[in-house]
């Protein structure tokens, strides 16, 4: 069976791709390769740092700001923008409501002991007034009883006092008659 050029090239390419892929896969995972790449990158980056320093020094000698200084300025501008955006995006109405609600709750919490004391006092006052009323009522009842007894006693004493009063009046009249005769 004959193959077309495309089929043939496809077949060879696939064979090469699979072989080279396997080899590269093995190589790139080799610790030696990874260490070597790391070391190479480290050295190149150290060199880049050195170049950065030289370029910065050159700008400084020209009395021009270095890249680092310009970047710092940009960073501050970004920071400022972030702060402004944060302020702009804040939902002030919601925040104020939340704060007020929190304060309201806190005030309610603060008033709680006061309210409890007041309720206790009211309860105590109610209890005390009930006791006093009962005492007064008992006192009034006993006084009423006493008064009735006194009235009865007075009623019994009254006729005896009537005869005593007549004797007293008579003696008084005798005494005044004696006084008058003596004077004459």
């Amino acid at each position: 069976m004959m193959m077309t050029f495309t089929e043939l090239s496809d077949q060879y390419f696939q064979w090469w791709q699979s072989a080279a892929g396997r080899y590269m896969e093995m190589l790139k995972r080799e610790p030696f390769f990874l260490q070597g790449m790391g070391l190479f990158a480290e050295r190149s980056l150290e060199f880049k740092k050195l170049v950065n320093q030289v370029v910065d020094e050159m700008w400084r000698n020209f009395r021009l700001p270095s890249l680092e200084e310009i970047t710092r300025l940009h960073e501050r501008l970004n920071l400022l923008e972030s702060h402004l955006v944060a302020l702009q995006e804040r939902d002030w109405a919601q925040e104020v409501t939340t704060v007020l609600e929190k304060r309201n709750l806190a005030a309610r919490d603060d008033l709680k002991p006061l309210k409890k004391a007041l309720a206790d006092m009211e309860k105590q006052v109610a209890d005390v007034s009930k006791e006093i009323a009962a005492l007064v009522e008992a006192k009034v009842i006993s006084l009423t009883k006493d008064l009735a007894q006194i009235k009865e006693a007075v009623a019994q004493v009254d006729p005896k006092l009537g005869s005593l009063a007549a004797t007293c009046e008579r003696l008084a009249a005798q005494a005044s008659a004696k006084k008058q005769s003596g004077a004459a």
Binding site: M2, T4, G38, E42, E46, K49, H74, E81
Partner: protein, 357 residues
């Protein structure tokens, strides 16, 4: 024999014609390189901070689902891979299905962004963007769709703010970095000069990022151009090829401080998986994720091997919890030819079921 020879002659003739056509096309492409238009779906920038932009895509349908979708793309490469060109746009697919789509574009980090910590990308930019989406859509919760590192960021956000995330869809997100394939081996602290790299460049340069991806598949470029020569007479192939090439070569620098967290805390120390990662002073506990969850791993992914992504299923508390593996590589799972018939409908159907109020 004679018959075979005649057939071979015919095939040779056809191939010669094809090769002439290929040569003509190559000449044409050389004289007039094609204009590649990517990310063409109309969108509005609804929020900006520094380089980061939040976009809202124009919906072609009258009624959209109440829960909006926020796409969180990685800090590597560009967002438009999700909106490559008409016919190969995941964003357009979502929009057509009636999903209200927002997307985070991190922009191109400059040297002045080298000290923006990874924490700020989540608790600063992303948090504000989620709040913005909530405000604009009127829905109290959003769906998050995170791709690659964007998936890791979305998972972290969902763990820190479970009350704001209704649905969490992660596509090839690195979660268990110990299963990070060759990348984990390549950035091992024994040989990877992280501190020197950051001191020399501030950010991770885009070319360095590209070199890192090339080493994952060293002969990939040769295979790619071989394939290109083979199919260059096909206009549809060329459209896809040039769009992909534009994206692949459109790397962006990775912000320095965030890169340090990615390499040291995530790749080298695997802190997220071990529950030791701290963002803005708060420990990230993936167990706190309660959103409906779907993770899609890619079967041929050599950047985030499938189990390094799907293992999140075991770490979260969601009742509605699913992790699947779809065919394709790290990019192919989303934008490959098969993805249009496999990954796209799978994700969209899952989202549509859960995007009601």
């Amino acid at each position: 024999m004679w018959e075979k020879l005649t057939r071979w002659q015919g095939e040779l003739y056809d191939e010669t014609r094809l090769n002439i056509k290929r040569a003509g096309k190559l000449w044409e492409l050389w004289l007039q390189p094609p204009k590649v238009e990517v990310g063409t779906t109309p969108k509005d920038a609804v929020y900006r901070e520094n380089k980061a932009t939040l976009y809202r895509y124009h919906s072609p349908v009258n009624e959209v689902k109440p829960v909006p979708l926020l796409i969180v793309y990685a800090l590597i490469n560009r967002l438009y891979i999700l909106d490559l060109y008409p016919g190969r746009s995941f964003v357009q697919h979502l929009l057509r299905e009636g999903i209200d789509v927002y997307a985070v574009d991190w922009g191109t980090a400059g040297l002045e962004d080298r000290e923006i910590p990874f924490d700020y990308y989540i608790e600063g930019y992303l948090d504000r963007m989620v709040k913005k989406v909530i405000k604009l859509s009127g829905s109290p919760q959003v769906s998050l769709f995170g791709y690659c590192i964007g998936g890791t960021m979305s998972a972290i956000y969902a763990a820190l703010h479970p009350e704001r995330v209704k649905n969490l869809v992660l596509l090839a997100p690195p979660i268990n970095f110990a299963e990070g394939g060759y990348l984990r081996q390549a950035v091992d602290s024994n040989h990877f000069p992280l501190d020197t790299l950051m001191a020399a460049y501030g950010n991770l340069p885009s070319w360095s990022m590209q070199a890192g991806f090339k080493i994952l598949n060293p002969i990939g470029d040769i295979a790619k151009y071989y394939n290109f020569i083979k199919h260059m007479h096909d206009d549809r192939f060329l459209e896809n090829f040039f769009a992909m090439e534009t994206w692949v070569n459109d790397n962006v620098p990775f912000p320095g401080a965030a890169y340090r967290t990615l390499i040291k805390d995530l790749y080298q120390e695997n802190r997220l998986y071990r529950g030791l990662l701290e963002i803005d002073g708060r420990r990230v506990d993936l167990k706190k994720i309660t959103a409906n969850h779907l993770t899609v791993g890619a079967s041929e992914d050599n950047i985030v091997p499938p189990h390094g992504a799907t293992c999140i299923k075991e770490l979260i508390s969601s009742q509605d919890n699913e992790a699947i593996v779809m065919p394709g590589g790290h990019i192919g799972v989303l934008i490959g030819g098969r993805a249009l018939k496999t990954t796209w409908p799978r994700i969209t159907d899952w989202l549509l079921e859960r995007s009601g109020q």
